[in-house]
Symmetry: D2
Subunit: 387 residues, 4 copies
């Protein structure tokens, strides 16, 4: 493998996304012949014991406890930011100034201004940048994009998406960082609906205006981070206000005339990761649900009358996006492969010195929309989207 | 059958709903032992040839061409109103004044004022009244109601409903009465979303405030009613503006704290009659789709961890609402049975002199919400619901 | 309606099938313009109180307690046989000799010899005859037949069918007539698999040879018919041997080279009426399941690579068989409509003096196959099918 | 990672299974903390160029072209056999004699005698042995096993399985090794139904007797291996007879009284990898389909009447087998994870010096059943299973 260009990764963060990204770097050369080889150089975390353990398990060559030291190092080509949202801006700008390529978890920042600053920094530095909206990289979604681009659905009239989870419904579930506005900016909005907005922009186009509604069903929660997984609850603790949304809904108008309806919640009992969308056009429709992510439902008006109906396409054929890399048709892939495909595009961007999609421009625009939804929800009226 | 009380029906209208109601009256005594027997006394339509034909095919004893004459007749106990929406108010008030029991198609009227007048008229007259929101009478929906009432879903957090059709997507489809505001009041709003609103009120409770969005994708259409079915298109005609909505969306807050997201469209390609809903509560969730109407999806938090998942309940067991009347478990019923069940409740109401649900009060409240959605869509802000 | 030819029905049997047939006769003229009107002349049952009650509820003009008297009557055109299987042969032959048209419930008889005698009798008498394999009359099945005839599936390689029920799994469920060989001939074989065999012959063609396996899981059951429904169990009774099959499986070869796999059981816990089939051909495949009977799953090889997948066709469009008669597309029909469609073909047969399908020839051939499966199961080897 | 026991793998074969196993060894320590680390020591293939390329892509430290040399080497702890079936016996016996642990692809051998010799060899050598029936390692299947063991389904009455593929339906598809009896022993029988038999033995228990039916739809095919994928066809070639089965079906009786129906085919148009099963017991049922492999359908009799139905369980919770190792609930895994889980059990077997399941005993018993099905198919009668 000596002929491959080595790209040395420095990753900040080592939990859920740290695991997903680490795995993707490891598996990438196994599945794709890219002429590039990611090297798991250094993993960074503040807690030395934890990051040491994670770095060993996930196969990193070394670890650090200070992200600033990482950025100063010359043996690092890429900074991978998987930390809580409130830290993105500082790390990303420093990394850009140090000339590192950057991949950043979503949402890009706490707010529009931060995102804009980050965008300007990477543009000024001329580094490759990407934001990790991984659901774009489901083959069924990429194939949907191709179908829409090829005009198979005709003019798009409707986009509707729901992203439903249920992991914080227990009132005893504590005020983890994902429930604190100062750390994450918003709740289900930035965590879940941000994905749907990215898919909407990817598949349908730019959004012109929005109006939103936000709700926090459980107003107070016990303090303290979870230990040992997300499913337990804590009792006998002091309580604090929840200042992010448990649920959010939004209506939107797209520039091309389509209308959109979005909903995200962490109170959708029974929906573990119910990320679904449907698009209706003048000539056809698609439906997709992350819980059976390999399947794209496709309806085509051109089908013979009597034989019209939604087809269940198992997007694992060699003709499907990224399909050749994996297994024979019908042998499904899973959640982690969205990150392998995403890293494929990121590494290819580095190799060819071309920004992949979605990049910080997309991250910024997404943030503009998130902020508009939040403002409209509090103002009770529609907000124009201005980039 | 001579021991049964005969209830003599006079039906105004003989097309889609005329057929559905006629069939329901005929089949009712076959399936239910109610101690009542609807008599298909007279069918009314303006076109003599057509109404004669329809009345014979559907088994009516006679026909009339003037609905006023029908209302004057003493041999009529019930007026069944299945005409276009703009005629409901006049007929219903006249019928009430004549002391007839009334069942009226939905939406009840063109606007809140009409609906209120109708409600006052039936209340004053002391007649039995009902509005034909037939989807309440799907056994799966009635069973969902029971589960919610029994507390199986706990506190309700979310109601989401989509009602998607695709029958007017051809730009050559003409400006039939369902596309004219003066005749029907609104488009997908009153035709489709009205059903979802009725289901929301039935299953979750009263709505407190709403904000809506409406869209007309095809702005002009050829004049002229369809001949020979709804699927053909007309060409070479003069065109006129479409003044009702092709699609509508709304967000809502319920009095009990739940949030609602509604969407209805006639531009949902591939969805022939896609009437779906999902409700999430603190202890469980349900999902339902009219295209497989016998199935209720139920998730219960109380299920053993590891064995949790949405159950597909085929609501055809004898323990299910109306289940005993039909066939053995697993032998499904269809669209028309919603009307048989509805007529069961209507006739029982007459027999026991008790207003069934949904009645004109429900029709009026529904209309208030429809009007609020329309106003909020044009004002771009939330509207309080005041009955 | 005076211009329509009246066909006077005499029905023997008044339980499950009596209800289904009665309803079909009543609804037939409502949905179809056939130029014929079935008259519910007389219903026959041995128990006077019960048959009187059923005849009134189901809308019959009169009742009898002796089927021989019915057959002698001149005001009867059709004999409808819905009694237990062991009575079919005597009634049918007597009815044929009296010149009555005959529709008989399935399976046609207790064995091949009886079925052959019945076939000869109707042929000799020149009356119209039909056997009530109602699942042929699901629109999705009729449409599948058309697709196969049109060559859309190419050469047929595979037919597989399961018919799974679960209503006798309680060991306390008594030895009702459907569990006694002298009354019904066989268990799940004649009750359930007979339907799958009929569908196989209809859709694929004649069967050349079979081998079967039969099993009775509960060897003894309490004596006594059920009172008050099928779901209760009886205790403290004397027990007797069950001499019919609880479950049966069979492998088959068709004359056209296709292979078939059949399975039927009354021990398929959770399957209330799980009547399913799949057919694979060189150019396409279909799947169908009675529990969502309106849906035909269709796979076509000719679809563009990448867009291939099973389509869910809701066979309620006007282009689908019998579709025009009912409701707009997407408004589903149910179990009872299979009988309305069947009676449509039967009445049309009478009107045009042409035998409909399936008729006694089909009933006889089905019986030959049932007997071959039973013999092969006891001999442990393949049996040729010889008509 | 220096504290982990290193297990040095020598893999023979580098195509579909070589890729799947290589990936599993690589990912194993990423997901599981086993105290063991597989080292991808050497990959073997006859064609030097190809094996070099594959070994580099899949991350092997070296390659060989002669499997005998591999077995002689002292730096190899495990022999992984992923070659065509006719080579298994010689390699496995030599590896056992050399004291290597062995994992062998399925089916274990060409016939019962070979399999027995292999089993004796590993038992004599005292090495750890496993056969790669990977579908056992789908979490939903492992969970089904647990449910059955816990008695949740009660007494088992029915096992039915279909394994349907469609990749050789083009008559121009050439006579690859999987279509040659001398190389693979049988066609769909050993390739596909062998998996269903393994699942049946795992979930239900031992089989007592079987009867089979085999069919070859395309009798002659062009000679020559495929180049560049499996989807193209070859023309203008000389033809030879196909001597293995395109399709096979079997009926079976289990020792515990359950009955089984099996079907496998490569002519199931539209089914890419349709590996499905259903089990019915006295207290519940399960359904599973590999194309949505994470979902287990579960029906429980103990559910409240009215709320009974098949549940769709997404077996990705931490309480599900292997669930803790991967992603949060609802984030699905795919085909390749079956091999990671399998290697987990294999490595744990080596670590604890305990044979995992399924091992060569299972491989042998499976082979006995395969041979019995083949013999019964040609004899046209039932065969007893004797181990």
């Amino acid at each position: 493998m000596s002929h491959k260009q080595k790209v040395r990764i420095g990753m900040i963060g080592y939990k859920f996304m740290g695991k997903a990204h680490s795995h993707a770097y490891r598996d990438l050369p196994f599945y794709f012949d890219l002429g590039i080889e990611p090297v798991l150089q250094t993993m960074v975390g503040r807690d030395k014991t934890s990051v040491k353990l994670a770095s060993e398990k996930f196969g990193w060559l070394s670890y650090e406890t200070d992200w600033r030291r990482l950025i100063e190092r010359e043996d690092i080509d890429v900074i991978d930011i998987g930390t809580p949202n409130n830290t993105h801006v500082e790390i990303a700008i420093a990394a850009a100034e140090a000339g590192k390529h950057i991949i950043c978890e979503k949402p890009l920042a706490l707010n529009t201004q931060q995102a804009l600053n980050m965008l300007k920094a990477v543009q000024k530095a001329g580094v490759i940048h990407m934001v990790s909206y991984n659901y774009r990289f489901v083959p069924a979604i990429q194939y949907a994009k191709k179908l829409i681009q090829d005009g198979m659905l005709g003019e798009i009239y409707h986009f509707r998406a729901q992203y439903l989870q249920d992991w914080i419904m227990d009132p005893g579930f504590p005020l983890v960082w994902r429930l604190r506005k100062d750390v994450c900016g918003s709740g289900s909005l930035g965590d879940l609906m941000a994905h749907s907005i990215d898919l909407a922009r990817f598949l349908v186009g730019e959004i012109k205006e929005v109006t939103g509604m936000m709700e926090t069903f459980i107003k107070k929660r016990p303090l303290g981070e979870m230990s040992g997984g997300l499913s337990a609850s804590i009792s006998g603790e002091s309580f604090a206000d929840v200042d992010v949304d448990d649920a959010v809904a939004a209506m939107a108008r797209f520039e091309n005339g389509a209308v959109g309806v979005f909903e995200a919640t962490r109170f959708g009992k029974g929906n573990r990761n119910g990320n679904r969308l449907e698009i209706n056009g003048s000539k056809g429709s698609i439906r997709w649900d992350m819980e059976s992510m390999n399947t794209l439902q496709l309806y085509l008006e051109e089908d013979t009358p009597g034989m019209q109906g939604f087809r269940s396409i198992n997007c694992t054929e060699s003709v499907h996006p990224y399909g050749e890399a994996y297994w024979p048709a019908g042998h499904i892939i899973g959640y982690e492969h969205t990150f392998i495909n995403l890293m494929h595009d990121f590494m290819k961007g580095i190799l060819t010195n071309t920004n992949p999609n979605p990049n910080f421009e997309d991250g910024y625009r997404n943030q503009v929309i998130l902020d508009a939804i939040e403002k409209s929800a509090s103002a009770g009226k529609w907000m124009k989207i201005k980039y």
